[in-house]
Amino acid sequence: MFGAGGGTSSYEEIETTDLIILWGSNARSAHPIFFHHLLKGVRNGAKMYAVDPRRTESAQWADTWLGIDVGSDIALANAVAREIINAGLANTEFIEHSTSGFDDFAEFVEPYTLERAEEISGVPASAIRALAHDYATAETAQLCWTLGITEHHNATDNVVALINLALLTGHVGRYGSGLVPIRGQNNVQGGGDMGALPNKLPGFQNVADDELRGKFEKAYGMTIPSEPGWHVTQMFDAMERAELSAMYVIGENPAQSEADSGRTIELLEGLDHLVVQDIFLTKTAAMADVVFPAASGWAESEGTFTSSERRVQRVRRALDPPGSAKDDLAILFEFANAMGHEWGTADAEDVWDELRSLSPMHAGMSYERLEAMGGIQWPCPDIGHPGTKFLHAWLWEDPMPREPAPFSLVEWVPPVDPLDEDYPIRLTTGRRLDAYNTGVQSSGYRSPIYAGAVIDMTPEQAADLGASEGDVVRITSRRGSVEAPVRFTNGLRRGLVFMAIHSPDDLDVNTLTLDAWDPKSGTAEFKATAVRIETT
């Protein structure tokens, strides 16, 4: 949308903003320290909305919780846009100056009435209207989201629908107003920044751009394909088509983390050659032909991570890795050397300095400065630059230095996995506070608040099923079936149940989820599965 992909604001901005919208995010559990900043904002008087199918620990802090049905985000967002426009609350000056395509957009969202949005999302029209009016009239507003927006088959459309709202109101490119995706993993941002995307070179430089690619080719002494590569979901499709026969997996556990794990495992088994580099013998590693024992990236390696506020920070080696394990960089260097290249000995700072010479947005970030400044937020183009608290200030410049930001027209479509008589209940998945992803890293300590491998539902839902708290029920989707004990919660409703993703060995939720994925971002629709539940 705006070029480089990153949250536009700094955490500190949410502490003094006037309005906070947390959309599809249970940051209280998934991003607790970001939520500390958010709570400072609430305590400083910010009004807060939460848009989430679940009344989560985060939503409990909201002045208003909008409990949407899973996958109805775009309908809600478009209705908010329509209401802002029809109430005369759009920021016309900003729209004229900084955006394009408004007229088409206004016409496009016209059918998304509050009533229609209520019908699709379940949220009362009055609450949608209030959110629209508060967002449009707030002096500053932070619109934050996480995987509740992106783990859908139409993830990118979801994000775009939210960006439209910021363009409509001018809540971007100013201190205190911004779009804030909080990243799920420690270095998702950094991975993207470093070019771990199918179509980008480090620093979000387009691989198809001959000049930019040429710069890298010259520095690397290699030819780089101009065609974008595959993202992981496309790779599995390619395996299915027998176009991909070997895979080198670094620090991932796709056998358990990918949706529709049955199919994933089958495809991994069908590879000619699988190399896995990990700190554990994961389920994926157990299937590998070769395993490289790795050091943990955060405590046994040198380097940098980049956080959700685009802050590049130093990672340092506090421990020696066990046995013959080596850090990722050392393994890659030895691997390259073994394949006949002469990369010499790995040194994280050397690699970083090479990156700085090629990626303008990192150019000013020497290790020395990162150390002294407690990290630097990109872009930081030169050694005297303080880093950038918020992005897209150019939207407010006159004249505009770049093309105006376009509105995008995105239609709501229902989740791919429909509810019907056989599968009448919506299962959504997510994280709990004390655990992380597939539990490989977080299962090592004994959490006193461990909830167990359970299925959360309301007491009313359980009563409908004839189940009591603790009873084991069978959960069946169109792809598979698992069993789990029932746990009561008041954060759900009839027809909506929740399971965490952290205990695949006890309860493989991804047996149930489907692999419908977003063609633009490659994320899968973990959030919307149709299931039926039976007592056992």
């Binding site: 201190y175 700190i279 955060w298 130093r314 299962s443 959490s447």
Partner: protein
């Protein structure tokens, strides 16, 4: 166009600290002014990242015109204030506060700074005979925290960190009144039964070792805890995309404690359960 937030110019005021004028922003406290002037002012309940609770009274100073001594940690500077940071009255309070605390609780694990200040003020122990002393069994209710309230000075730091200043969980508060008041969950239920989410931020702010991570407690019990053999390395947490700075305290190539730098704007020293305790996976013998 607003490139960065432009801070309003902050007015300054001039105060006299121990006879010397010091000019400070009007938002500064007397503690900040005193320290800017080079005065050696002890604190105990005060922590930069928390709202002052005014409980220990160690940071008191003498302000001309004030009947009582003034806690410098919470008092804002005002133009023309004349402040003495170490007058006889101030010294008396500080010595007495240390003696009163020492007479009721176990101060054996306070930081070096407190030990130094206690020596500086000539603190005498056992001035109060066989009077009241806090006695309570150590609470070990899970694998992460140990609570030893015989070391608790009721500074309220943990309550603030669990509450509005950071975590906003409110699992603990002061219960009871007066000398026998204590930090407690409701009806003194165990922490695992309480609202506690095990962020460890209460432990992180405890100045006396009353709250301790189990890892440290066990090593202390077995005599293995040795800070001289420990290194502290700052790195970034692995568990989400927020980018919290972790200080890994390592002894004999094992992580024995995790803290976060108080002066870093991402965490202000606070973490969550994963960042605080989720390190076991890299040093478990059998994962």
């Amino acid at each position: 166009m607003i490139e960065q937030r432009i801070a309003d110019p902050v007015a300054t005021v001039t105060v006299t600290i121990d006879g010397a004028p010091v000019t400070m922003p009007e938002t500064a406290t007397l503690l900040e002014a005193s320290r800017a002037a080079g005065a050696d002012v002890p604190t105990l309940c005060y922590l930069e990242t928390l709202t002052p609770f005014n409980s220990c009274r160690l940071c008191v100073v003498e302000v001309a015109g004030s009947r009582t001594l003034v806690p410098s940690c919470s008092r804002m500077v005002e133009e023309g204030m004349e402040v003495q940071t170490d007058s006889d009255r101030v010294q008396h309070t500080r010595r007495m506060v240390y003696e009163l605390l020492d007479s009721t609780v176990d101060l054996s694990l306070v930081d070096d700074e407190t030990t130094r200040q206690m020596e500086r003020y000539g603190v005498r122990t056992n001035r109060f005979g066989d009077g009241y002393r806090r006695t309570e069994a150590v609470k070990i209710e899970d694998d992460l925290y140990v609570r030893d309230y015989e070391k608790c000075i009721m500074c309220y730091r943990c309550v603030a960190a669990c509450g509005p200043d950071a975590q906003n969980t409110f699992a603990i508060d002061v219960a009871g009144r007066g000398l026998t008041s204590t930090i407690a969950t409701e009806y003194d239920i165990t922490l695992p039964d309480s609202a506690c989410v095990y962020c460890g931020n209460c432990v992180g702010v405890c100045p006396t070792g009353a709250l301790m991570f189990t890892s440290e407690y066990r090593m202390r019990e077995s005599g293995d805890w040795d800070e001289d053999r420990q290194t502290v390395t700052t790195t970034i947490c692995t568990f989400c995309g927020v980018g919290c700075n972790l200080e890994l305290h390592v002894q004999d190539n094992r992580i024995v404690k995790v803290t976060s730098p108080m002066d870093h704007e991402v965490t202000s020293g606070h973490l969550c359960i994963k960042g605080r305790f989720g390190y076991a996976h890299i040093q478990s013998e059998s994962p």
